[in-house]
């Protein structure tokens, strides 16, 4: 529904720009979700692009489900990336073990950063939106400092850290894309988060505290503990996203690492995916596809600026928000009708 509305509005924009909307939109999908040959496969690139989106999206889902509107994925991701760049280059370890150690380190560091934002809210009552924005900013500046000074690789024009050891790099399945182990980890994370939230007792505690704090308190659930646990997991997932970006895509951190906005995009993914892990999986791939298609299809083939892809995503978020509103109105209407029927 939201997606259709977004596409329709985008079509109007395209018409205004004197391009055929059908051609443009079909070119987005054609270039995002097709495969011409194994080593020139667009869909693999889409999957690779979707990997960090899915992880930061999951991070937002876990935080939202514990009742904390954390938007600190960006910063937690930066810390994960720093950990990866550091251990990847300065701590020599054997193959495989190297990437495992990096992942665990990034999860712990990102998790603690998330936990800290939760702690600020619960113990000191600091609004999580503000604290996570500031914490993100701090992490971004830290990364820029490290990249420019202590961890700078050489004296090139743009600052970047030295390339990580090959032992720390993630396997790539299809040559020519970055589609590899990272995607598998992300899919695995989707499944884990789903089981955690919906099938485990701890996840139950967290969902109840998030949805109905008074109900949880009444039932004897320790909401604060549940929320802090949620924030740790949330931060850990974002940290992992940062580590995978380093281990599987860039192999280093650089000056512009924060400009990709992958952390903030995770919020869009979580909201568009209706704050559900499976939704995050679908929307993550879909958004990556639109981005990919906008770049390849629109810009290269039709000469339409790729920002249009971003516009489409923006519209869709708007419509998802509106949809919730419609649902609410519809729901109330339905309920009062239902009641009237019963009275009659």
């Amino acid at each position: 529904m939201a997606i259709t509305c977004g596409l329709i509005l985008a079509s109007i924009l395209l018409l205004a720009a004197d391009k055929s909307p059908i051609e443009a939109i079909s070119s987005i999908f054609r270039d995002a979700f097709t495969c011409s040959s194994f080593d020139r496969c667009n869909i693999f690139t889409t999957f690779a692009l979707a990997t960090p989106l899915m992880l930061t999206g999951l991070s937002a889902v876990v935080a939202f489900r514990s009742g904390i509107f954390s938007i600190g994925q960006e910063g937690q991701m930066m810390l994960g990336a720093i950990v990866a760049a550091y251990i990847g280059h300065w701590v020599p370890l054997p193959d495989n073990i190297h990437s495992i150690v990096i992942s665990i380190g990034a999860i712990i560091v990102g998790g603690l950063y998330g936990w800290f934002a939760g702690w600020l809210k619960i113990r000191l009552g600091i609004n999580e939106i503000i604290s996570t924005i500031i914490l993100s900013e701090i992490a971004i500046l830290l990364l820029l400092y490290l990249v420019n000074f202590p961890m700078r690789g050489d004296r090139g024009a743009t600052a970047y850290s030295p390339k990580i050891d090959e032992t720390a790099m993630l396997k790539v399945f299809a040559p020519g894309s970055k589609f590899g182990t990272g995607f598998v980890i992300a899919v695995f994370a989707v499944i884990l988060v789903y089981f955690y939230l919906w099938k485990s007792g701890k996840g139950y505690e967290q969902r109840m505290s998030g949805e109905a704090p008074r109900f949880a308190f009444f039932g004897g659930i320790k909401s604060e503990k549940a929320a802090l646990r949620g924030m740790f997991i949330s931060g850990g997932l974002a940290g992992l996203a940062g580590a995978i970006e380093v281990m599987g895509v860039h192999y280093r951190i650089n000056q512009g690492f924060n400009l990709m906005n992958l952390g903030f995009d995770g919020l869009s993914v979580a909201i568009l995916g209706l704050v559900h892990p499976l939704g995050v999986f679908i929307v993550g791939i879909f958004l990556a596809g639109i981005r990919m298609g906008a770049q390849l299809g629109l810009q290269f083939t039709l000469g339409i600026p790729r920002e249009l892809g971003g516009t489409i995503i923006g519209f869709m978020i708007l419509f998802v928000a509106a949809e919730k509103l419609f649902q609410k109105i519809f729901d109330i209407d339905l309920r009062s009708k239902f009641r009237r029927k019963k009275d009659a």
């Binding site: 139950y204 109840m208 109905a212 039932g219 309920r335």
Partner: protein, 518 residues
């Protein structure tokens, strides 16, 4: 004679709760009098005031101001007509000064654009002097006591030139000294020609301050009396007196061992005022202790302190001889406490979750529903079906949400969850509020069943009928204290009514809390 305010046949029906809140209400106010409106909870007092203040529009009926019919469809209209409301919950900006709060929305200005702070402060000072309500216009609201804040509320209303002042349960939030102070203020305002409409359920205050009193019951006016022509006993029986359906259900068992003993308990409410001021009682196995009282006399705080949702300021809670003051909600539940909360929408249930998630709240950690930290979906579904059957929760479907259920069915879900584990102690707070007759009967039967199976039950209710029919012993609360412990078969309804209004009754009928099981 011309009345400053008169209503004729005001009626209001609330479809959502199926309540006739006002039914042909006539009320007449003469200029300069203090007119009290009294009645139990749900008698329709607040609805009537909201209609007069333009917050609720009546279905039918007319309002006359100084003999002229007026339509009041918005609070602004009421204010223009000289009607002001002193709300029970103050509507003040804590970080603003007294003067800023009083003139908010009508600030004096210099050159049309700049605020004139001096003039603001001066006008407030003048007003407070004129009305005999002393206050420093420049102090900040957040630094004032509750009593002083109320004074600001009154001044705010006076500043808008109100001639008729509506006080909605003004003493509920005050300390005894502040109450005395307020009553003095009310009297002096009346002397200065203002007309006061005073809503309360405290008979003592009515006798002290009012000239005229109107008693409401179940949406209708029972009668209007001059205070000098009536007495507390008459008012109490007017308030509660009605045909009550007495179907006392006998208790086949003698009360057993003491399960919970409450000793000298003191609890604060959310604004830090003592709500429970030293309460002691006991409840035993096979016994229902009813806690009667007009709502807002400390019952909710008492319940929340017992179940662990509120901290105890002073006193002791003992469960089978062990002190449980320090245990949290979960630990107390593990001991076998069950709680049927007053508010089932936000507290008792999670409207956003499905039936299983709601039902498993108290048992998700037990072996029955979890294995290695994972929830056993099949067991949860089985249990849901079981509850649907045993508690005949019509229209509930496992896997679906609970928000579409009727109030009665929601309450059955709560009962099913709380009572199915054969709890040691059940605390039921207003368990039948808003339910239809059939559901009420079901709730009563369930509680009786649990009592006969050995549970100790604390039943808090503002419904006297319910208290009378179910309780083995009745504890009456007034103003945070126990005004009397009685056996329901030994007292009349009027006597309970007197205790509820804080008036004494025959000493011989009262029992000591240590004798509650005898």
């Amino acid at each position: 004679m011309k009345y400053i305010l008169e209503t004729k046949k005001i009626s209001k029906y609330f479809e959502s709760s199926n309540v006739q809140a006002n039914d042909d209400v006539d009320i007449k106010l003469s200029k300069g009098e203090i007119h009290a409106v009294i009645g139990e909870n749900g008698a329709g007092k607040t609805t009537l005031m909201n209609i007069l203040y333009g917050l609720v529009s009546p279905d039918s009926g007319e309002i006359f101001i100084e003999g002229v019919e007026k339509e009041i469809n918005h609070p602004n209209k009421a204010i223009n007509l000289g009607i002001g409301m002193v709300h029970q919950h103050f509507k003040l900006v804590p970080s603003y000064s007294v003067a800023e709060n009083i003139t908010l929305g009508m600030e004096p200005r210099k050159n049309k654009f700049f605020l004139d702070k001096k003039e603001e402060s001066k006008s407030v000072k003048e007003l407070s002097n004129k009305m005999g309500l002393e206050i420093d216009p420049d102090s900040l609201i957040k630094n004032l006591s509750v009593g002083m804040q109320q004074r600001v509320e009154i001044l705010k209303v006076l500043h808008r030139n109100a001639e008729i002042l509506i006080f909605d349960e003004p003493t509920a939030v005050l300390t005894p000294q502040e109450v005395r102070e307020l009553l003095k203020i009310v009297k002096s305002l009346a002397k200065k020609g203002k007309t006061i409409l005073f809503i309360t359920h405290k008979l003592g205050e009515v006798m002290e301050v009012a000239d005229t009193v109107t008693v409401m019951r179940q949406g209708s006016v029972v009668g209007t009396k001059k205070v000098k022509d009536t007495n507390v006993n008459e008012l109490a029986s007017m308030m509660v007196g009605r045909d009550i359906n007495f179907v006392r259900i006998g208790n086949p068992n003698k009360p057993g061992e003491v399960v919970l003993s409450v000793e000298d308990l003191m609890v604060l409410n959310e604004v830090g005022v003592e709500a429970v001021k030293g309460v002691s009682f006991e409840v035993r196995r096979n016994q229902i202790v009813g806690i009667a009282g007009v709502s807002g006399n400390g019952q909710n705080e008492l319940v929340e302190a017992i179940v662990g949702m509120k901290n105890i300021e002073y006193g002791n809670l003992t469960f089978y001889g062990d002190n449980i003051n320090k245990l949290n909600v979960g630990k107390r539940r593990d001991l076998g406490m069950a709680h049927i909360p007053e508010d089932r929408i936000e507290t008792g249930l999670n409207m956003g979750a499905n039936l299983e998630d709601n039902i498993v709240l108290t048992g998700y950690k037990t072996d029955q529903f979890s294995k290695f930290g994972f929830l056993l979906k099949k067991e949860m579904q089985k249990f849901s079906k079981d509850i649907i059957e045993r508690f005949s929760v019509a229209s509930a479907v496992p896997g679906e949400g609970v928000s579409m259920l009727s109030g009665g069915n929601m309450q059955k879900v709560v009962l099913g969850r709380e009572l199915s584990g054969n709890p040691e102690l059940v605390i039921a707070n207003q368990p039948t509020r808003g339910l239809d007759v059939g559901s009420i009967e079901f709730v009563h039967k369930t509680l009786i069943n649990n009592r006969d199976n050995g549970s100790a039950i604390i039943l808090v209710s503002v419904e006297l009928e319910e208290i009378f029919n179910l309780s083995d012993v009745v504890v009456v609360m007034f103003d945070g204290l126990i005004s009397g412990i009685v056996k329901p078969e030994e007292v009349t309804l009027e006597e309970i009514g007197l205790l509820m209004a804080g008036q004494p009754i025959d000493e011989d009928k009262l029992i000591q809390y240590k004798e509650m099981g005898v």
